[in-house]
Symmetry: C2
Subunit: 588 residues, 2 copies
């Protein structure tokens, strides 16, 4: 479940080496490198080729595959690029490698050589130079860090402001190897150059979405749009962790699959379409932060976007089955190597996450490499031209703009796998959690929400199905909402209380519009999509708040209240949804 | 999930035919029967051959397989028998078949002919005769009803007293076909005869078990015995629905597998041992009634045995994999007929239950046909010589004294599948539930309990692991307990509150002693067994009640309180376990 040689342990291991030892080691490495980079390579790189530095990164993973036969290198897009003007001609550093970092001087041009195309990566901040090679595999944000290799960290930290804190400065200081030669400094600092804003190619969004953040875009589906079984594509919630990669060519987009022995197999989207059978599944995606604001309101502040009930949506996704592609690439689905445990996904913007291998190869797992949503090509915000669709799992595993899959013995090392998407106990504080003590969220617990509360007069109810089911002859309140459980578990019951939980009645589950799994069975046992529900109660029985709670087919239920499941990230907020009975509907 | 043409519908259909129509139909049948039973067969049958009446029963199932090729008939045991003395010589009934039931007279000897070896089954009560042939497939208790065929119901109803209520009398009345000829009556009633008490062969139980009922035996493991990872075999809770079949021969015990086309394949236990590889799994079995008494105390009365925390236990079970046996018998595991949905199990005492076919054939499902428990032959109370072991599912599906498996398109029709082991909403009353509206319990929700509360003085704690983990330097309270989730979901966290749920700390999970699944993988993803835990808090922090709640790896949690998950059967009582902090430990 939780690896004993976990992530935190590896961080400590990487950081434990003394700067001196590390500097010496890399002094050698640097000299060797020079033989390869004989010229003075101009430091520039396509902004979206975040993948490809795994060779040197692998040196620090204890369980690396030994045979590395690269079949192809992923080049995702060529559109974006950034540039930095080198201010002075190259001059050899005066300091011998033996000097302590504070006395060793390095010229800017040498730093520029240690860019993402090199085998060791250097960056600078102020006048200090850092060899971050060892840090790359441990960087919570993944290989996006390579954008800065060969230059200054500062323009990136101005975009990714999460880095501007002491904890990060402390990590960086462990990799200090030298100072910049004063001849290259202006006012005591090296020129940081300009970088292009990666968010500038983000698409325009529907104005009906409720925006929680713009950069990256995080926008919620309004309640009124949660009432159709299939969520309108343009109203589907957007949860981006970084920018939207500037990808425009579908057919030529390349997906690299790295097998367990290191061999890589590359498919273009056109290859996938041509070579494999297409399947469609109707599946609900839900952010682990859905209803986080309810936890915050009922309990204490939480870190993260304060979503309401709309970080969820349902679509019909089409693509090819991941298991078919893995088998074609060379994975033995029947008897996989017993060390294979996880499948890592990397997006073109460098977002990373993983799922257990069992889910990926399960005949009923229905994991897709999807290229369409509701019959149309994926919108750019939802992963154009290719995303993973992992039904029944938290949406954070359905990686968008998919560029690479790695068959691995360990989980993705990204912060989104090893930190952000976990729940700790209500007593655990955000300052120093034991990150490895909780598993990454995969399947999600049973959830439900009220999306509409309407008072309806007796004569309007007359002869309606609801009036018949509930025997209503008087003014009533009609409630609507959704219920959903992860892991393919069916919703078997939704209970509604009109009086704060004192009495209950059962909601009417609306038709299950998602009967077909990718396995092709018309009544597959897995439930990948939500069930919507309706209920009505006489207005006279309403007292205090409405409550809703759902039950799944393992008879798991939602907790009564938030405080006992409070976690500082505010993940998986699934206590009963309580709505004031006097709540005005916004959409009727 | 829930069949629309469900059980209740079939009951209504069977009952809807008018007595006259049915009587006429069977008049013809009776005459045909006479040609076969030309002699005057003595009415006696082995008490344990409850299986074998399926031919006529099948006529009333709409989806029966058409080709019935019987390879063998299961005869489970010959030891038990009952006898009935026929009081008068046979005389032909005077009434023609056309008369209404009240005017038609039948002699006792003719009734005796309609025993379990016949194609139609008659019983009597008082002076009234009933043709129950159509009722057999709908009988909630299964084919155990055939024990009474050909004679009086009354001695059985004196044993199975659940029948002594108006609802049952009403069902019986629908099958009324005639009265007994007055020449065979004594004081207006026919002699009911004597039947052997089927419970007389029940084994002697360990005196430490907490007995909730004797006939059938339902006995709970005391808290003190829940603290070892493997529950001592003789202290393992006993949950019998009927008597313990009088089976003493292991090797020759026969298991019949009925394939979907009706063909039957028979294996003796010796065959199973010889032909298939043996596997062992450590798995927890839990009754759905575990902790029912807590629900009753916290909420309202519930129907069923009032178990405490001890209707649960863990053992290492050994046997052969069900999927291997099914494949050998002829089931295509890769592409099973799409109409195959369930696997029905029948015990030698006529208990019946079923599981979804997917669980049975899943490579990681680990369903065993077990013949040993903790390295010894199964005790008679736990299914000697053969039981099913369905890990991760409610124990009621792990059918003991296994005699028959039926590959089917529908669930078992037993009351234990279609009625007793379900949960309804807190508002649903026991009187008239819509039985089909809830699914049969299979996988169980996350559960936990406190099994020990001890006050320990500071000097006794000194240098203990608990003192180090919790930083204890003062008198403390040490808690112990277990946590378990169904479906193979791991327990990832156990939270303890020393103050009614206001503050929480994490318990220390004890070593997972069950790392091996039947699939042979040493760290199989499925968790089939409980995790035990320990925690300690300074005595000064204790206030009010201790609470415990667990979280599984889908981040499902236990509900805070019982009332909102109250169900009239008291099943799956998994609200936080609350224990008075002043509770005296009974075992230290």
């Amino acid at each position: 479940m939780m690896s004993t040689a976990g992530w935190t342990a590896r961080l400590l291991r990487a950081g434990r080496q003394s700067p001196l030892t590390r500097c010496q080691a890399h002094g050698t490495s640097v000299q060797r490198e020079r033989a390869f980079h004989a010229g003075s390579p101009r430091w520039s790189a396509p902004i979206d080729s975040a993948v490809g530095a795994s060779r040197s990164a692998r040196r620090w993973t204890s369980t690396v595959p030994t045979r590395v036969a690269r079949v192809g290198i992923v080049v995702i897009a060529a559109g974006l690029a950034y540039s930095l003007v080198a201010p002075a001609p190259p001059v050899l550093a005066e300091s011998p490698d033996e000097l302590p970092p504070n006395q060793r001087l390095i010229r800017l041009d040498e730093i520029h050589e240690h860019n993402r195309t090199a085998d060791t990566y250097w960056v600078f901040r102020g006048d200090k130079v850092y060899d971050i090679t060892d840090w790359v595999p441990n960087h919570p944000g993944g290989e996006v860090i390579l954008r800065a290799a060969g230059g200054s960290l500062e323009p990136y930290w101005n975009i990714f402001t999460i880095h501007q804190k002491q904890e990060v400065y402390d990590v960086l200081e462990q990799y200090f190897i030298a100072r910049i030669d004063p001849r290259d400094l202006v006012d005591g600092k090296a020129p940081t150059g300009q970088v292009e804003d990666p968010f500038k190619y983000d698409p325009v969004r529907d104005s009906a979405l409720i925006q929680h953040s713009e950069r990256p875009c995080n926008s919620e589906t309004p309640e009124s749009e949660l009432r159709s079984y299939i969520t309108p594509t343009e109203k589907f919630y957007v949860r981006n962790h970084l920018w939207v990669p500037n990808l425009h060519e579908a057919d030529s987009h390349r997906l690299t699959i790295e097998l367990f022995d290191g061999e890589e197999v590359v498919y273009t989207v056109a290859d996938l379409r041509k070579k494999f059978k297409e399947y469609s599944i109707t599946a609900t995606l839900q952010c682990s932060g859905n209803r986080r604001s309810h936890m915050t309101q009922a309990s204490r502040p939480t870190n993260g976007l304060q979503w309401g009930v709309g970080a969820i949506g349902t679509a019909t996704w089409s693509g090819v089955r991941l298991r078919d592609v893995l088998a074609d690439a060379g994975l033995d689905l029947q008897e996989p190597d017993e060390n294979i445990k996880h499948l890592k996904f990397v997006g073109a913007e460098a977002y990373g996450a993983s799922i257990p291998i069992d889910k990926a190869i399960d005949r009923h797992g229905d994991v897709l490499l999807a290229f369409s949503m509701n019959g149309q090509p994926l919108p750019r915000d939802h992963g154009f031209p290719l995303r993973v669709l992992v039904p029944g799992h938290v949406a954070a595993r359905s990686v968008k703009w998919l560029s690479k899959i790695v068959i691995s013995d360990e989980e993705s090392t990204s912060q989104w796998q090893r930190r952000d998407y976990k729940c700790f106990g209500p007593n655990v504080r955000a300052s120093h959690p034991d990150w490895d003590s909780a598993p990454a969220i995969q399947e999600t617990p049973v959830q439900s929400a009220i999306t509409s509360v309407r008072r309806v007069q007796a004569d309007q109810l007359l002869d309606s199905a609801l009036a018949r089911v509930y025997g209503l002859e008087e003014d009533s309140v009609v409630l609507e909402g959704y219920a959903f459980a992860g892991g393919g578990r069916h919703i078997v019951r939704v209970d509604i209380s009109p009086d704060r939980g004192h009495t209950w009645l059962q909601a009417q589950l609306q038709e299950d519009g998602a009967k077909m799994g990718a396995s092709g069975s018309p009544d597959d046992h897995r439930a990948w999509a939500w069930r919507q529900w309706r209920a009505a109660v006489p207005a006279t029985q309403v007292s205090g708040k409405f409550c809703v709670k759902a039950t799944d087919d393992s008879y798991n239920v939602q907790p009564d209240t938030f405080e006992p499941t409070y976690n500082f990230r505010g993940n998986l907020a699934n206590a009963w949804h309580r709505v004031p009975s006097a709540k005005k509907t916004t959409h009727e």
